[in-house]
Symmetry: C2
Subunit: 413 residues, 2 copies
């Protein structure tokens, strides 16, 4: 029962969300993932959130279970070393993920001279190679304009770096697809994608490009309502807020039944001459529907409403702050086998997630800590590059490589 | 130059975002993806947005390039047919993706009796098997509480179904990882993940669980600011809004330089005794910084500011509505080779995206239309199940299967 990607070796030169997440996702499936950084740490070494010590919780979250090597990337010797790590032999090696767009020594053309079957996946900002980040792609494509309550007329940006998270997962599947091809043919390749193209394609997949071109009325803000059918948030008597869903016919029927509003809903249908079993009608009449449902929620605590919603088979959840969710929801604690309570040196002790997917032919890989920066420098030079102890010692002596301690680099450039 | 997953065959029994997106992503990489639906269409057949005709733009977006078969899933004969499609022979077949949690005839235990090396990937709502959707998972984990301007004290839900989009991409990588294992060992397996676990793990990856447990001050709302460093939106003289980023040292230096505020920023550092080259200090002083930058943006049009930001090498973008983005941004048009202008019968003509990733060893697969519901029923019964014309004719006659026309099913249950 080893892990599903056991034996695969990936090298990662990265910063921030998408590519670090890609490497970490592969590590959580059992791959040996080597992240290299410049000495002192990369651009994301101090990324927030930070622990009370000032050390980055973000960095620790994104680099769990990887091996870390710290190299003087400006020196020719350091660049040669990274080249050797990326292109080291091994049937299940020769794979490189990056969002550092370095022309010359670290591009596919140059690297593949050292290993012809190299698979390299590069994530760019946009397809023109310009830097873009989640926080710029999102407003450019219009998502903030449709986010938030309709009485608030300014754009509202995502708090979640959704595009980065999606792009990181596409880096994973692109790599696995390219490696599948290599397993069959021996052929490596250069794979490229951009954050903005990922976002633009997604708008298309969701039907939003067709909607913008074909429909006169632009989709506006609709607060916390579920778009296109019924779903709404309600305040309960104890001030706690609940989200309920009436997307499918079954969910809708459960909501009407549990709230005891069948008669009022039927009379709304009669009055408007519209069929509320049609999800689009529920969307159009959502404010009227919400007014009918509201007293039921306002008349009881969230806990009481929740019990009845569960009994009725409704789809619902309770709004929480992140702090409340971590404190109250067993799914975010070690009660969920995905989590382990780990102590991360310099940070503290908290629940750390492993992979969400379970594979019946493989054991679940326990959640892992992040390495200290450079923690595996010596062993990587030995087992991957094949250097002798003497060669390794010389690299440490000349400062081409470094081992811990992970000095908190707050990216003071 | 065929496509990277050419020859692979996947069967999909699905609805809504995540699993349909997974199948479509595999189809865009060249796999033969067969989606089966009940006659009349599945739960998402009428999902919004819809075209002026009332037909679903969403369904068309999520099912591009698949083959479609419509089967009476309630009849034993229809269930047997679907079983035969899922477990049909072929080295590169025997893979099934689903979010329809059907115990009995369509679970892994039963299906794998017909094909021992079956790979099945199931996406659930939560790990307990309870139904959850993006709109319920997101508030339960606290994202709406940190979204929106700080002067607005209600939770603000994502307009983008981010968790579904992430989970769908994890379904893809889970499938490819499991198939990699099967290619080497012949062993199939049952892979399970849940939408809520995907979201909970992501909070952990981003450092938010550690933050909630270790830091007293909860992360609050911060409007359109980039969290943890500097990044902010500004109104220009023409009323257009721009987002600028000062996350890395280089980005920050470009911003200070282009706005001509070096002196004011330096004096802010002196006054506060804080080092603004530290990204966390920029976050703490963001309101003071924004006040210093604001006049530069307010004094010129967005176009003029944009030219100067480009010249300075700053990272920035302009806020647009989706309609404006589709009308104005060449990256969302066929000028971008990812898009093709396609006519989708019953919907209209608009730019349709192919895959964001390009593979140097493979041609880019042109963007494809969605099938009409059941359009490939006859050919799938022939080439996948291996039925004779007579057997196929009988299934049509008895209503066990159906071919177009794709009657608009608005999910009127």
């Amino acid at each position: 029962m080893s892990h599903v990607l056991k034996g695969m070796r990936i090298v990662e030169g990265s910063a921030f969300v998408a590519v670090p997440l890609a490497g970490m996702t592969l590590a959580q499936m059992g791959a040996d993932v080597i992240r290299f950084d410049r000495i002192g740490g990369g651009l994301d070494a101090g990324r927030w959130p930070v622990a009370p010590s000032g050390q980055s919780l973000f960095w620790a979250g994104m680099n769990k279970g990887k091996r870390s090597i710290a190299v003087d990337m400006k020196s020719p010797e350091g660049q040669e070393l990274i080249t050797r790590i990326i292109t080291a032999p091994g049937d299940d090696a020769g794979m490189f993920l990056t969002n550092l767009r370095v022309r010359g020594w670290m591009d596919h053309e140059t690297l593949s001279k050292h290993r012809a079957d190299l698979i390299m996946v590069t994530l760019m900002g946009d397809r023109h190679g310009r830097p873009q980040v989640d926080y710029t792609v999102n407003p450019a494509l219009g998502i903030p304009d449709i986010t938030g309550p309709d009485r608030y007329d300014e754009p509202v940006a995502n708090a979640l770096p959704a595009w980065d998270l999606i792009a990181g997962n596409m880096v994973v599947s692109s790599l696995l697809a390219a490696e599948r091809h290599r397993l069959r043919t021996g052929e490596g390749q250069d794979v490229e994608l951009s954050l903005k193209d990922v976002a633009a394609a997604t708008l298309g997949h969701l039907g939003m490009i067709g909607d913008a071109m074909l429909n006169d009325a632009a989709r506006g803000k609709s607060g916390n309502a579920l778009y296109g059918a019924y779903g709404q948030d309600f305040l309960c008597a104890d001030g706690r807020r609940i989200m309920v869903i009436g997307l499918t016919g079954r969910q809708w029927a459960a909501l009407v039944k549990v709230t005891g509003t069948a008669e009022a809903i039927e009379s709304l249908g009669r009055e408007t001459g519209m069929n509320l079993r049609d999800e689009g009608v529920r969307w159009q009449l959502r404010e009227r529907i919400t007014a009918i449902f509201r007293p039921w929620f306002a008349g009881q605590t969230a806990a009481a409403a929740g019990r009845k919603l569960d009994d009725a088979g409704a789809t619902w959840s309770q709004f929480r702050t992140v702090k409340e969710a971590v404190a109250e929801d067993p799914d975010l604690s070690p009660e969920n086998p995905m989590f382990e309570m780990l102590h991360q040196p310099g940070l503290g002790t908290f629940p750390v997630p492993g992979a969400p997917a379970t594979f019946s032919a493989h054991a679940r890989k326990p959640a892992a800590k992040a390495p200290a920066l450079g923690a595996h420098t010596e062993e990587i030079l030995g087992d991957v590059v094949g250097m002798t102890d003497g060669e390794i010692a010389r690299l440490f002596d000349t400062g081409i490589v470094q081992s811990p301690n992970f000095a908190v680099s707050r990216n003071v450039a």
